[in-house]
Symmetry: C2
DNA sequence: AATTAATTGACTAAATTTGGCAAGCCAAAA
DNA sequence: TTTTGGCTTGCCAAATTTAGTCAATTAATT
């Protein structure tokens, strides 16, 4: 179960390039990118999109990975997490049906 | 599909009491409670718990309603919302299985 | 019309997030 | 064993978001 940080670290290592190169493309400090790859910090939406470009990957797939991380981390300490997701899904379905 | 704000407004109206009475119990301005009931502002976790007490309701049910609102609003503008939820669920399941 | 409740908008305060910098760590090369 | 280069860590500052109040307005109720 790969999270967003792991995904972009894997892609970077596959390419065999350094943090600093990607960081410069994103116009952020490499220390920050290091934190993002390790999941210590969350990327911003714009950065996710830029990363998808950088790695020639699908933007929506990146966004899905990133957003699902966010939700999972919101709910990780909730004992009823799965239940909450179900209710959220119903709410979204409902809203879309109107 | 009742959201958190609607739920606590309904409960208050059933009891036939005023915003100010509930607001005073929560130690916030009634204007803020009005906004929370109408979904213009989000309650804090502690307030949700206090509200469950106030209305003799189940705390977990209140938290589920409130958190699922939060998630639904995070995803409402995402075209892949349902997909994202699925992935988030897998991530949570996975984390729990470790 | 007078009271009282609820809403709204504008503004402030508090909290959270995002980011940079500098120092430190560690492995590999010299 | 020293140096080099990449990555990580901790700490502080800036920026953004969110929670909150207050005062004015609107809507009901009597």
């Amino acid at each position: 179960m790969e999270n967003f940080g792991e995904k972009i670290r894997r892609l970077r290592e596959d390419k065999g390039i350094y943090l600093r190169q990607v960081a410069s493309f994103l116009e952020i400090d490499q220390a920050l990118l290091s934190k993002i790859e390790r999941g210590e910090r969350k990327a911003k939406r714009e950065q996710v999109i830029k990363l998808a470009k950088f790695y020639n990957s699908d933007k929506d797939e990146f966004l899905t990975s990133w957003l699902s991380d966010k939700i999972a981390s919101d709910l990780n300490s909730e004992k009823n997490a799965i239940d909450i997701l179900k209710v959220a899904e119903e709410k979204i379905q409902y809203k879309r049906s109107t």
